[in-house]
C-alpha cells in the first residue's frame, strides 16, 4: 500500500514512503510542505489551481498520484522565482493587478510560464484559450490577459519571457 518514491521539487530531492493512493498535490502540500499549490475542486480536475510543472510541462497535480511522479522533476509556484528574482509573469501580475484573492494565481502562473516559453506573440484569443484550464472567480480574466500580453511581446512590453 506504500511505496518508496523520490521526487525532485524545485531542485530539492524529497524521498519518502507514501501511500500509493496519495495524490501528487497532497504530496506537494502535506509532505513537502509547499502550500502554494492549491486545491479548488474535488476530483474533477477542472479548476486548474493545482497546476505545477512536471518536467517543465504544465499538468494538474490533483489528477496524478505521487507515485506517478517518482523519479520526476517538478516545479511549483515556490520555484518560479529563481534566487529571489521574480519571473516576468509574477512582476506583470503585480503591475496589472491580475489577482484578487490569489487562490487561482499559482496555477495560472505555472500554466502561463510554460505557455509564454513555448508561444511567441500569441494573440489575445490564443492567450484566453490557453487559460481555459484555470478558473478564476474574482478577476473576470481581463487583467490576467493584460499581464500575459505584457510578457509575451508587442510594442513596449516587458519583453519575451525566459524560464
Amino acid at each position: 500500500m506504500n511505496k518508496e518514491i523520490s521526487i525532485i521539487i524545485n531542485g530539492e530531492v524529497y524521498q519518502h514512503s507514501v501511500p500509493i493512493r496519495m495524490l501528487l498535490v497532497d504530496f506537494i502540500r502535506d509532505v513537502a510542505g509547499l502550500t502554494g499549490t492549491h486545491v479548488g475542486c474535488t476530483y474533477e480536475g477542472v479548476c486548474g489551481a493545482c497546476t505545477v510543472h512536471v518536467e517543465g510541462e504544465a499538468v494538474k497535480s490533483c489528477l496524478m498520484l505521487a507515485v506517478q511522479a517518482n523519479g520526476r522533476t517538478i516545479t511549483t509556484i515556490e520555484g518560479l522565482a529563481v534566487n529571489g528574482k521574480l519571473h516576468p509573469l509574477q512582476k506583470a501580475f503585480n503591475d496589472h493587478h491580475a489577482l484578487q484573492c490569489g487562490f487561482c494565481s499559482a496555477g495560472i502562473l505555472m500554466n502561463m510560464a510554460e505557455f509564454v516559453r513555448t508561444n511567441r506573440e500569441p494573440s489575445e484569443a490564443e492567450i484566453r484559450n490557453a487559460l481555459i484550464g484555470n478558473l478564476c472567480r474574482c478577476t473576470g480574466y481581463a487583467h490576467i490577459v493584460d499581464a500575459v500580453k505584457d510578457v509575451v511581446g508587442g510594442a513596449g512590453s516587458a519583453g519575451a519571457a525566459r524560464q
Binding site: E44, A49, G102, T139, Y141
Partner: protein
C-alpha cells in the same frame, strides 16, 4: 500660505498591491495551509436522499477502521449542542425559523444534508470510514418546485409546519394592513387605467457565486484558555458571538480567526453554518484539534445556491414610456431554510426591497413569498437577492419600449431617478449621486446612434447584433438602520489606527477580506492622511482577539464604512500630533494650521517650521513629558463610523451581442459600464471589481445552473456540470468611472462598490439578445439564457409569425 507637497497624493493613484508578492510566490496563508500539530480530520457523511426519515445509522464498520477517532450522528449531538435558531443569528423580521442541528435529526431534507461526521487521524482514512457508514432511510415524498410547495397537499419540509411558507412580506404602502390595502388599490387603479400595461412572468434559475476556495473550520480547545477557531468566514466577530451562544462558551474564551488570505467569498462565507458548529463542538469534546476542509462536491451541494426566484411583474406606463405604477408578486425557492443569520430568505427579502432599483417609481405594490422545498437553503451571493429582481424590471422596461416602438435607452432615461437623496416606495434610502450623468456618459461612450445605424445595416445583411442595458443602485455598505433589524448586527465601520515610535502605522480592523485588496487601499488612505508611504502601513484584519468589532466584509462596507473609520481615526491622531507640536513650538495655532505631507508635519504659516513625522510621533509615544494640559502620551485611536443614512453607488451597463439566428448561439462581443464610485482610492482595484463582478453576472446568466431532478437529486455537484465561465468565454469589460460624484457622507467621498455589480448583467445580456433578434420579435424572460432556449424561442416566434 498653502503648502503643496512634492509627493503626489495616494488617493486615486495606481499603487501595486502589497498582497501580491506573497500570493504570486506561493506564500499566501489560506485556510488549508494552516496546520496545527496533531490535528484530526473531520469528514461529513451527507444524505443521498432529498427527503427521508433516518431509520438507522450503523457506524460499526467505520469505527473499526484504524485511525478513526470518533463518529457522531444527529442523535449523538442533539442533546449536546443547542439547536438553531438562537437569538444571536436571527433577524428581527417575522419569519418561521426551522429548528435544526449541525447534523440531521429525525429526517433529512435535502440531498447533501450532513447526517454524520467522522473524525480520523488521516483525511483519506476519514473518507474510507465515511464510506463505511451504513444508513437506512425511509424515503418521503419530495417537493422540488416552489409553486407546488405552496399548494395544499404538498409534502411538508419541516415537521410541525402546516405549510411550506417560511416568510412573506409586503414592502409598500406603509406598516398597517389598512394602509397597504389602500396603496394596493391605488396601484391597481393606476395600472388598470394606464396607457399601456406590460405584464410578465420573469424567472431566474438557481445559481450563485461560488468562490474558488471552499469552506473550512479548524478548532482547538484547551480547558483553561478555551477555543481558537480558524474559519473561512467573512464575519469573524459575528461567528464568535454565535459560536459562544450556541456552544455555551463564554465569549472571553473564544477566539475566531479568519485566515489572512481567503480565496474569495462573495457572500458565500457570510452565514453562520452547520459545519463550523460541529467542528468546534468536536474539538472541545475530544480535546484535540479538529479540522474540516470542504470538498468542492460538498460545497456545490450545500452552499453557493442563490437567485431562484419567480416574479410576476406588471408595470403601467404612459405612452411616452413613463412608468406610473408597478406591481410585483415575487416567489423564492429557499430550500430547507436552515442557515444562521440569513436563513436564506433575507436574499429575496432584500431583492424585493431593491426591486425599484434606480428608477423613479413612487407607486408600487411589492410582495414576496418564500417557500421551503427539499433543496439546499439559499446562501448569499454577490448581488444578494437582487439579481432576479433586476432582471425582471429590466426586461419589463425593454418590453415596454418595444410596445411603444421606442429605444429602450430612452425609456430607461425617462424613468431614472433625477434627483437625490431619494427614498424608494419600499423605504430604501439612496443618499447621493447623479444617475443621469452616469447614464448619459454610458450612452455617449458607446455612441448609441452609431450602433443603431450599424444594427440596421447588419439586419439587412442577415447579421444579428444587439445592445441591452441594465442599471444598478447598489448598497455602499449597510447602515445600522438596515443591519440591526435585518440581521441583529451593527453596520458601523470600525478601525484602530496605531502609530509606532518609528513613524510607522498599524491598522486593525475586524472584517475579513477575500481578495478586495484592503491591505493596499487601506494603506493608501492612511498614507494619504499622514503624508507617509503605503509601505509604512500594515493592516491586520479578521482576528477577534486583535481587532475591533466589525460586522464583516459584506455589502461593500470597506470602501464606504471601514475606510471612513480609518480616515476618521487618522484625523483624530493628526489633531493630537498638531496640538502637541503647536505646544512644543510655542505657536498659537490650530490643528488645521499643520499639514502632513512628504513625511513631515509642517506649519502652513511658515513652512520651515516643521518636524519629520517620525520625530513628531516618537516624541509623543516615547517621551511624553511637558505635554499640553489634559493630553496624555501614546498615539492610538479606535474610530467607529456610521453614515447619516444608507448609501448607494450607481452603475449603468451596456452589453453587446452577436446572435446566430439559425442555431441560437450567443456571442458577447462587448461590455461597457459607467460607474459612480465616488472618490476612487485605487483605480485598478475599482476596475477589477467591475471586471470580476460582470463576468460573474455573465457566467450566472449563460452557464451556471444548480439542477435538481424530480427526486431532488442534485445533478450539478462538480465543476464538470456546474460550469463557470472560462477566459475564452468572456470579453474584457470597458469600465468608466469618470462620471462619478464624491459621496457627501464619507470623509473621503468614497463609495463602496463590488457587492451589486452582477445584478445589472442578466437584464443587459437578455435585453441585448432580444434586441439583436428584434426582427423575429423574440421575447425571453427566463434564465438561464442558453442557445437551446434562444433556438426554441426563435422557432416559436417563426411559427407564430407564420400564422
Amino acid at each position: 500660505m498653502n503648502y503643496v507637497g512634492k509627493q503626489p497624493g495616494w488617493i486615486g493613484r495606481q499603487f501595486n498591491r502589497k498582497e501580491d508578492y506573497r500570493l504570486t510566490t506561493g506564500k499566501g496563508q489560506y485556510f488549508a495551509d494552516i496546520v496545527v500539530p496533531g490535528m484530526l480530520h473531520l469528514m461529513f457523511v451527507r444524505s443521498k436522499h432529498a427527503h427521508a426519515r433516518i431509520k438507522r445509522i450503523d457506524t460499526s464498520a467505520a469505527r473499526a477502521i484504524p485511525g478513526v477517532v470518533a463518529i457522531v450522528t444527529g442523535e449523538d449531538i442533539r442533546s449536546e449542542i443547542k439547536s438553531l435558531p438562537q437569538p444571536v443569528v436571527v433577524p428581527a423580521l417575522p419569519a418561521r425559523y426551522p429548528t435544526f442541528w449541525p447534523l440531521a435529526v429525525d429526517k433529512v431534507k435535502f440531498n447533501g444534508e450532513p447526517v454524520a461526521a467522522v473524525v480520523a487521524r488521516d483525511k483519506y482514512v476519514a473518507e474510507d470510514a465515511a464510506d463505511a457508514i451504513e444508513i437506512e432511510y425511509e424515503p418521503l415524498p419530495v417537493v422540488t418546485n416552489m409553486e407546488d410547495a405552496l399548494k395544499p397537499g404538498s409534502p411538508i419540509v419541516h415537521d410541525g409546519w402546516e405549510n411550506n411558507e417560511m416568510f412573506a412580506l409586503t414592502f409598500t404602502g406603509g406598516a398597517t394592513p389598512d394602509s397597504q390595502a389602500t396603496n394596493d388599490a391605488e396601484v391597481d387603479h393606476l395600472i388598470t387605467s394606464a396607457d399601456v400595461v406590460v405584464k410578465g412572468r420573469y424567472r431566474v434559475h438557481r445559481c450563485g457565486v461560488t468562490p474558488l476556495e471552499t469552506r473550512g473550520a479548524l478548532a482547538t480547545w484547551d480547558d483553561a484558555d478555551g477555543m481558537v477557531a480558524w474559519i473561512t468566514t467573512q464575519r469573524p466577530h459575528i461567528d464568535r458571538l454565535a459560536l459562544s451562544d450556541v456552544l455555551d462558551i463564554p465569549t472571553e474564551k473564544i477566539r475566531v480567526i479568519a485566515p489572512r488570505d481567503q480565496g474569495g467569498a462573495f457572500g458565500v462565507k457570510a452565514p453562520f453554518y452547520r459545519e463550523p458548529i460541529l467542528v468546534c463542538h468536536m474539538a472541545r469534546k475530544l480535546r484535540r484539534p479538529v479540522r474540516w476542509l470542504e470538498t468542492r462536491e460538498e460545497h456545490l451541494m450545500s452552499v453557493s445556491q442563490e437567485r431562484d426566484q419567480i416574479h410576476d411583474l406588471e408595470i403601467g406606463a404612459t405612452k411616452e414610456g413613463r412608468i406610473v405604477a408597478l406591481r410585483d408578486r415575487g416567489l423564492a425557492d429557499n430550500g430547507d431554510g436552515c442557515e444562521g443569520v440569513y436563513w436564506g430568505y433575507l436574499m429575496p427579502f432584500l431583492g424585493s426591497a431593491l426591486l425599484p432599483n434606480a428608477y423613479d417609481l413612487p407607486k408600487c405594490d411589492i410582495k414576496v413569498r418564500v417557500a421551503c422545498t427539499n433543496k439546499a437553503v439559499l446562501s448569499p451571493a454577490r448581488s444578494f437577492g437582487a439579481y432576479p429582481t433586476r432582471f425582471a424590471l429590466e426586461r419589463a422596461i425593454d418590453r415596454l419600449a418595444r410596445r411603444l416602438n421606442k429605444d429602450p435607452a430612452d425609456v430607461r432615461r425617462v424613468n431614472l431617478i433625477s434627483s437625490l437623496p431619494y427614498v424608494t416606495a419600499t423605504g430604501v434610502h439612496y443618499d447621493s449621486g447623479d444617475f443621469l450623468k452616469v447614464w448619459d456618459h454610458l450612452i455617449k461612450t458607446i455612441d448609441l446612434p452609431k450602433f443603431r445605424a450599424e444594427q440596421r445595416e447588419a439586419w439587412e445583411r442577415g447579421r444579428y447584433i444587439g445592445v441591452g442595458f441594465g442599471v444598478g443602485a447598489e448598497l455602499s455598505g449597510v447602515a445600522s438602520s438596515v443591519l440591526v433589524p435585518m440581521e441583529n448586527q451593527p453596520g458601523y465601520g470600525a478601525a484602530t489606527v496605531r502609530l509606532d515610535p518609528r513613524g510607522k502605522v498599524q491598522v486593525f480592523e475586524g472584517d475579513a477580506p477575500g481578495g478586495q485588496g484592503h491591505e493596499t487601499s487601506m494603506a493608501q488612505v492612511v498614507a494619504q492622511e499622514f503624508g507617509i508611504h503605503p509601505n509604512d502601513v500594515t493592516v491586520t484584519h479578521g482576528d477577534t482577539s486583535t481587532t475591533p468589532f466589525g460586522s464583516g466584509t459584506i455589502g461593500a462596507r470597506a470602501g464606504s464604512y471601514t475606510m471612513s473609520a480609518i480616515s476618521t481615526a487618522c484625523r483624530v491622531l493628526k489633531k493630537k500630533i498638531a496640538r502637541v507640536m503647536a505646544h512644543d513650538l510655542n505657536l498659537n495655532a490650530d490643528p488645521d494650521d499643520f499639514v502632513f505631507v512628504d513625511g513631515s508635519v509642517i506649519y502652513t504659516k511658515s513652512d520651515n517650521v516643521r518636524k519629520t513625522f517620525r520625530e513628531a510621533v516618537e516624541r509623543i509615544i516615547m517621551a511624553p513629558l511637558n505635554l499640553p494640559a489634559g493630553e496624555t502620551g501614546g498615539l492610538e485611536h479606535t474610530a467607529f463610523f456610521e453614515a447619516d443614512a444608507p448609501m448607494i453607488c450607481f452603475s449603468a451597463h451596456a452589453a453587446f451581442v452577436e446572435m446566430d439566428a439559425n442555431s441560437g448561439q450567443i456571442k458577447v462581443t462587448r461590455y461597457v459600464t459607467s460607474e459612480d464610485v465616488g472618490t476612487v482610492i485605487n483605480p485598478q482595484i475599482v476596475e477589477a471589481q467591475v471586471q470580476g463582478g460582470v463576468v460573474q453576472g455573465i457566467s450566472n446568466c449563460l452557464f451556471e445552473q444548480f439542477v435538481y431532478d424530480e427526486h431532488g437529486q442534485q445533478l450539478t455537484s462538480t465543476f464538470e456540470n456546474y460550469k463557470l465561465a472560462n477566459a475564452a468565454d468572456v470579453p474584457s469589460v470597458e469600465v468608466h468611472h469618470e462620471a462619478g460624484t464624491p459621496c457627501p457622507h464619507t470623509p473621503l467621498g468614497s463609495r463602496g462598490l463590488g457587492e451589486g455589480i452582477p445584478g445589472a448583467v442578466p437584464g443587459a445580456l437578455t435585453n441585448a439578445v432580444c434586441d439583436a433578434l428584434k426582427p423575429f420579435d423574440v421575447d425571453i424572460n427566463e434564465l438561464p439564457l442558453r442557445p437551446n432556449s434562444v433556438w426554441r424561442a426563435l422557432k416559436e416566434a417563426r411559427r407564430a409569425a407564420a400564422g
